[in-house]
Every structure is written in structure tokens, then in C-alpha cells.
């Protein structure tokens, strides 16, 4: 190939490459959302809940956010931080996403916070709520519609105090989130922790731990066993005849794993900021339409993502649809001018919600499906413990 024709070919190729970029630069009255959730691997069920919750929100908003036509770009983080960063960069630079929304796991969120916020793009977590982002690492481009991890564990600590449990057995996986769970629990529980048992994340069989629990005869157990770990634990706990010892948990019995736990989990307790039977108009509509559309019971992952869509909608409307006006968008997000499915919902100084926390219990519904149901309110207008360390720049 002669040098002239090669140059011509190169020019043509460059032109082709440039064309889509030019098209994307002018989002004609639209808004593009990068929706990031784990879609592969053992924890994919949680990501599916999150995705469907957000899509439900969009459906209720007729596919528009603040008057702009919404387009969703799905990002599967594969539960790998490096993959998440690469894909989020692509979503920002190639797809020109205006917002990044989602994230189930804290380690993924912490990996993508800088790439997103440094591009002056808003990142809205609808689940993960690690403490550093609530405290020193709080960020004007970061919002959460979920909770700070510590709050949920503290709920169970408070429940144990309220119920007068003096001796509690603690069982958690041996990794950072497990140790955080113990710290959060102890921040409110002042009684005796009979034993703290740390199990590997790859644990198969809980027989050894269950024998220990039986030997220790505690007033209650506190556990944090997300995903398949929780399925194994709950079923084996029931099979070992330990169910007369109150089972208090966080992220262990929820609608994402209840289809596998079924009757074994009935009567087990959990700390949460939401439950499907929460009695308000917005929630009734959300749950009924969600179940009709997706044919399963939503969990808090879905509810928080639904609220995320509503919050985005209110913020864009308040900013008059001007996506470039970041200050107006931020003010709109802070105002959180929408009706949350959780009822009481505000955005605090560190951009984390100020909300109520509840004790929930697993129940079998009349239609044979399982869900968590509200027992009582434990903490009201709860602010996470890190807000004082936040200096929003």
C-alpha cells in the first residue's frame, strides 16, 4: 500500500472513530445513567435486585428523569474492583454517562469513587455505604440513598439492649466487613459477648460453630452472613434445633436469599431500613408493581435503587434539566424532594440518608412467598456516627 493511500485510509478510519463521539457530545434532551451492579458470580442475585429496582423507578417515571428521556447503560462490575474501574471509565469517556448509579459492594464503590467524582460526575450509591465515605472521605459528588454499614449492625446492638439480652454470641466472616459488623454491633450493645467466632468466607459447613453455640447457651446470637453463607447458616441452624435461641442478623435473611431459605428462616430477625410491608402509599405501589413486573419479592437493594431513581428525578427537575449545572444538581440531590418508599427520608450533611431503622422478622405470606416484615422501629432519624468527621469541600 502506498504511503498516500495509507494516509487516506488512516484519515477515513479516524473520521469513523470521531463520528460517534460527536454524536454523543450533544445529548438532545436526554440523560444517560450508568447503572453499575454485579451481574455475574454467586452474588449476582443482589445485583439483579438493584437493577430491577432502578428500572422499576424509571418505569413509574415513564422513562423520564426530571423531564429528560433517560437512557440506561448497564455495567457489570463482576465483583472485581479493577474490572469496575475500567468499565466505569468506559461509561464516562465513551458512553458519556451523566450519572453513575448503583453498586452493591463496598469494595467496588471504594474503587470507583475517585474515577467518577474526579470527572465531576455524580456517583449515587444505592447500596454500599462504607464508613470512610461517610466521614473523612465524604465528597461533594457522592451521595448514598442506602445507609452507612455501621448503622445497620448498631440496630441489632440496640435491639439486644432493649430486649435485655445479657449474653450474646457473635458469628461473622473473617474479613473487613465482618469485623466492621462486630464493631457496629458493640457500639450499642453493652452486655457480654460470650464468644466472637470468625469463619472464612469460603466456609461450607457450620456444624462446628453450631456446636459451640449450643455449648455456650447464649441469650441470642448476632450474625452477618451475606449471600450463600447465610443460606447455609440459616438452614443448618434450624436443622440443629437451635431456633429457640433468637437469631438476630444483618444482611443474612432478606428477600434476595429467602427463596432458598424458605421455612428455615421464618421467625428470624434482621435489622433494616425498609421492609416490603412498610405501610405507606409509595411503598405499596412500588412493591405491587415490582412483583407484577419481575415476579419476585423486592429486597432493600431494590427499594433503595427505586428511591435512587426518584431522587435523581427530583434533582434534575429542580435543576431545570440543566445537566451541566453541577451546583444546581447538587442542591437538588441534597433537597431529596421526593416521597421515599421508606417514608421518613432526608439527606444529611455528609450526603448519607437520615432515616429510621427497624427490626424486621421473616414471615410466610398468604401466597406462599417469604418476606421480612416490620416488628418495630428501633432508631428514629438516625444519623451515622461518621458525619462529624466529614468536611465537605
Amino acid at each position: 500500500m502506498s504511503s498516500l493511500s495509507r494516509r487516506a485510509a488512516m484519515g477515513g478510519a479516524l473520521g469513523l472513530l470521531a463520528a460517534p463521539a460527536i454524536l454523543h457530545a450533544q445529548p438532545a434532551g436526554g440523560v444517560k445513567i450508568g447503572l453499575i451492579a454485579v451481574q455475574t458470580g454467586p452474588q449476582a442475585a443482589l445485583g439483579t435486585q438493584l437493577r430491577d429496582g432502578f428500572l422499576m423507578g424509571l418505569r413509574h417515571l415513564n422513562g423520564r428523569l426530571g423531564g429528560l428521556t433517560a437512557e440506561t447503560v448497564m455495567i457489570d462490575d463482576e465483583l472485581k474492583p479493577d474490572v469496575a474501574v475500567t468499565k466505569v471509565r468506559t461509561a464516562l469517556e465513551r458512553d458519556r454517562c451523566d450519572f453513575i448509579v448503583g453498586v452493591v459492594f463496598s469494595n467496588i464503590l471504594q474503587a470507583i469513587v475517585r474515577p467518577v467524582t474526579e470527572a465531576n460526575t455524580f456517583l449515587i450509591s444505592t447500596n454500599a455505604g462504607p464508613s470512610p465515605l461517610a466521614g473523612r472521605g465524604c465528597n461533594p459528588f457522592f451521595f448514598a440513598t442506602s445507609y452507612n454499614n455501621d448503622q445497620v449492625h448498631a440496630v441489632i446492638g440496640q435491639v439486644c439492649e432493649d430486649q435485655g439480652y445479657r449474653r450474646v454470641f457473635v458469628l461473622v466472616p473473617n474479613y473487613q466487613a465482618g469485623r466492621d459488623a462486630v464493631a457496629g454491633f458493640k457500639s450499642r450493645f453493652k452486655g457480654e459477648v460470650v464468644d466472637e467466632v470468625y469463619v472464612p468466607l469460603t466456609q461450607l459447613d457450620f456444624a462446628a460453630e453450631l456446636s459451640k453455640i449450643a455449648a455456650a447457651r447464649p441469650d441470642a446470637i448476632f450474625t452477618f452472613m451475606p449471600g450463600g453463607l447465610g443460606v447455609n447458616l440459616v438452614r443448618q441452624y434450624r436443622q440443629a434445633g437451635l431456633a429457640n435461641i433468637p437469631f438476630l442478623s444483618t444482611f443474612t435473611v432478606d428477600e434476595a436469599v429467602l427463596p432458598a431459605q424458605q421455612d428455615a428462616a421464618v421467625g428470624f430477625f434482621s435489622g433494616s431500613n425498609w421492609a416490603p410491608n412498610m405501610d405507606n402509599a409509595a411503598n405499596r405501589r412500588f412493591v405491587a408493581d415490582f412483583e407484577a413486573a419481575f415476579n419476585y419479592v423486592p429486597a432493600s437493594y431494590a427499594a433503595q435503587a427505586y428511591d435512587g431513581a426518584m431522587m435523581l428525578n427530583s434533582a434534575i427537575r429542580r435543576a431545570g434539566g440543566r445537566l451541566a449545572d453541577k451546583d444546581a444538581l447538587r442542591a437538588g440531590l441534597r433537597a431529596a424532594d421526593f416521597t421515599s418508599v421508606r417514608g421518613n427520608f432526608k439527606i444529611g450533611a455528609n450526603h448519607f440518608p437520615v432515616q429510621d431503622f427497624w427490626l424486621t422478622r421473616v414471615a410466610k405470606r398468604a401466597d406462599g412467598k417469604f418476606q421480612t416484615e416490620i416488628v418495630r422501629k428501633v432508631l428514629e432519624n438516625n444519623v451515622d456516627p461518621w458525619v462529624a468527621e466529614c468536611r465537605m469541600r
Partner: protein, 307 residues
Amino acid sequence: MSTGLFLVQALNGLQLGILLFLVAAGLTLVFGVMDFINLAHGVQYMLGAYLGAALAAATGSFWLGLLLALPAALIFGLLLEVLIFRHLYDRDHLSQVLATFGVILFLNEAVKAIWGAAPLQVPVPALLEGGVVLMPGLQYPLYRIAVLCAGIATALGLWFLVECTRLGMLVRAGATNAPMVSALGVDIRRLFMLVFAFGAMLAGFAGALAGPIFSVEPGMGDHVLILAFVVIVVGGIGSIRGAFIAAVIVGLTDTLGKSLMPDLMRLFLDPSAARQTGAALASMLVYIAMAAILAFRPRGLFPARSG
């Protein structure tokens, strides 16, 4: 720790060991006889669990599901052998690892596409509900006792098959010197295929049995696979007897380590540090034991191949 608790923990360890043996038995045969590294053995265990769960749900009976899952796992094993593994026997171990790893990825995703990402529920059969009270407040589920018995029966059956039958003799001969067996006029390819399908069925059997105890989910075979490899390496590759003894050792080490290590560490460290280092050490203990055994017996406890 009281003697009662110790005995219960020992029983727990034995039970984990038996379950590991069921998975490892097939793996050690395939590895030993065919010198073929099958990383996909773990997904065959997963497949057994899924087939058992789906067939139990379809027929409404756990037993019927279990019974049907066995031939289904066998047929699937044959299918994999004919389509993929057969073409890898003459390749080096790296190609085998790569190809079987690909099978893991493919089947994990396929299972998710068919049954969804959420874990499945398999109820304990009504016949085996309830349990035996072993110590105050603790039931030992009947189902686990049944799994224990099934595992021991399988071990005895395998031992008989391998040690006392003509087929078993060929398998042992194949494990020792495959080219020689082939030269004596035995169709080694057919033997391989049989062993492979049988191994797949054993893994499927273990998976179907594990269904009511563990969560049936994509990727459930991956953790089991690692422990199963530890078992066959410690036991000596290709040896059923070695796999059985090694599985019990691994099960006991893991369970007793988990229950004793944190208490042991408390002698040297303050309680909270002892709990965490104890837990960390306990999860390493199996691998430390493996390293120690291999240091003294590099071919495992009961090596099948002498040359």
C-alpha cells in the same frame, strides 16, 4: 472444652470428611488412572446438586430426584468426555487445566442462565427430618447421619469395586502403567470413558446429597474443588483408600482446628486478637497439614503409582 463438645466436634469433622471423600473419590480416579487434571470436577458436583434439586422439584420427591440425578450426571459426564475431555488426554497438563477451567466458567454461567443466580432450596426429605439430641440444646440432624452412612457405604462399595473385581483390577493397572495395560489388549480409551463417567456420577451424587444442607448456587463447586484436591494429593493420587483416610484427616483438622485454635491462641494473646488469629490459623491448618504430610511423603499417604 468439655469432652461432650469435643466428641460432637469430632463427629462434625468426620461428617465433613465423608462429604469431601464423595467428591474426591471421582477426582482421584480420573487423575490417577488417566493422569488428567479435571478442574471441572467441582462443577460436576454443582451440576449434581442442581439436577437433584430440579428433578426433586419436578417429581415432588427427594428420593426420586436423587435416583434420577445419578443417571443424568452420568450422561452429562459422558457427554463432556466425548465432546471435550477426550481430545485432551494426549495434551500436557497446562492445556487440560485451561480447557477444564473454561468448562467451569461455561457451566457456572449456564447454570445461572437456566436456574437464575439466586440459591435454590432443597427440602430435607420427610423421612429424615428431625434429629438426635447429642448434647443439651443441640440436635444432630438425622439427614446428616444418613449422609454419613451413605458416604461410608459408598466408600466400602468403591473399595470392593476397585480391589475385588476385574474392572477394579484394570483401573488399578491403568493407574500404575497405562501403556502396558493398553499393550495387553485392553481398550484403555473405553476404560477411561467408563472411569470418567463414573467419577462424574460420584461427584453428582455428592452434590445431590449436599443439596438439603448447603445452598445450591452457581459456583458452589469451586470451594469444594480446592479441598478435594488437597484430599487427593494428601491421600496419594489414584488411591481410593488414601482418599478416604485423607478426607477424614482434612475434615477433622478443619473442624477441630476451627473449634480449638481460638482457645489455644488465648494462651498467648489477648482475647480479641486470639479470636482473629485463631480463626485465620484454623483456616490455614488444612494446608499446613498438607505441607507437613507432603514433606515426609511426597507422593501422599498411599501412592497408587510406584514408578
